[in-house]
């Protein structure tokens, strides 16, 4: 019981890091998607290179670069800031690919019909292509969110006191390592169950709302 308490102290930070990184990722992914869809070769090449680089380098390396490497004068990022920023930027690259795939899954006829009906570009995105894209992206998006929940544990390597950080600290002082880490594993599994259920619920709801 004492062990569970010691580990649970890390729970809020795990959730916080996951949510903030997901938010940063989602927002930063949008301009990257625009770049990946651009007809301008240079912009396309730059966005493609950015996505490949962000995905090709392990998240730990990004976190260490931000935490140990970046200093503006005497100001350094805090562990939490570096963790959220690093995971968020890496998430942006993965999410950009997910969104790009979802946009290209919208049938071409939808675009043609919208232009035939003379809809404004903004209307096409908000009323026609946007909702269908969201529907197509939701399964991959939630799968990614569950992966990000687990990846948030990487922030423990730069000293963010989330679940893994708290468990290894407790394991060291109590000497009951096996159980501690199994409990930590159990918490992650339990956390991802509601996310999976939410995903299915949203999917069913969107299926009803957006006819295919």
């Amino acid at each position: 019981m004492e062990m569970l308490k010691a580990i649970a102290i890390g729970l809020p930070l795990t959730v916080l890091v996951t949510i903030l990184a997901l938010m940063i990722g989602t927002v930063v992914a949008l301009p990257i998607v625009a770049g990946l869809r651009s007809r301008n070769r240079l912009i396309w090449l730059m966005s493609r290179g950015l996505v490949d680089l962000l995905r090709g380098i392990p998240p730990v390396v990004w976190l260490f670069m931000l935490y140990y490497g970046i200093s503006i004068g005497a100001v350094r990022l805090s562990a939490l800031q570096a963790g959220v920023l690093g995971l968020g930027v890496v998430a942006a690259a993965y999410l950009a690919e997910i969104f790009r795939g979802a946009i290209s899954a919208v049938p071409k006829g939808q675009w043609e019909a919208s232009s035939a009906l003379g809809f404004h570009r903004a209307t096409v995105w908000t009323r026609i292509v946007g909702p269908q894209t969201a529907r197509a992206a939701i399964p991959a998006y939630t799968t990614f969110a569950i992966g990000l929940l687990k990846d948030s544990s990487i922030a423990s390597t730069i000293g963010v006191s989330e679940i893994v950080f708290m468990s290894s600290q407790y394991a060291r002082q109590s000497g009951s390592g096996i159980l501690v880490f199994f409990v930590a594993a159990g918490i992650y599994i339990l956390l991802s169950v509601p996310l999976g259920l939410l995903s299915r619920h949203l999917d069913v709801k969107m299926r009803k709302a957006v006819a295919r």
Binding site: V61, G69, T157, S167, I178, A185, Y188
Partner: protein
Amino acid sequence: MNNLVDVAIEYGPTLLGGLKVSLTLTILSLALGLPIGLLFSFGVTAKNKAFRYISVFFVEVGRGAPALVLLQLMYYGLPNANLTLSSMASACLALTWTTAAYSAELIRGGMQSVPSGEIEGSHALGMSYRDCLRFVVIPQGLRIALPSLMGFAVLLFQATSLAYSVAVPELMSQAYSIGSSTFQYLPVFIVAGLLYAAISIPATWLSVGAERLLSRHL
């Protein structure tokens, strides 16, 4: 920029030595994990209850828990059970578990997309269940699963960077120790990052190419 080149020249050999350890760890985990994953892919739907429960346990924990937890479990946890492994062995064990769990699901997905007509056909030809698996289902299922398994291998290679937390002398821990002794953190991590990218980006292209090649006739 000059700084970056200097660091790359001076510490290049050390970092490349670390990269070799990272690659060794990746290959060992794949070599051990993929056969176990194949076994588990049958286990999770097996009729034998003991086999099924064991497979489900390993697959669900291996996929549900972060790799970092498994690494620390093997390195800091197992000594409690009077089983002390070297850092390399415990990292290898943890990543083998991850590999087996993920590949079990990927392989199962591949097997399920083998058309049922193939299996019916082999029944009609009087093939035994074992021959049907060996000559019909497994070869085709693995071929379907291959691109995603290659994609997973890239992620596994990146995950070996977490083994630095259990003191495996791989690329990340070499970079960190150079950084902490010279305070040249940023250039060292950039060089290390580029080394990771130099392996994983072409490997990703390879897996995309494999997917195109294999889905050519679909």
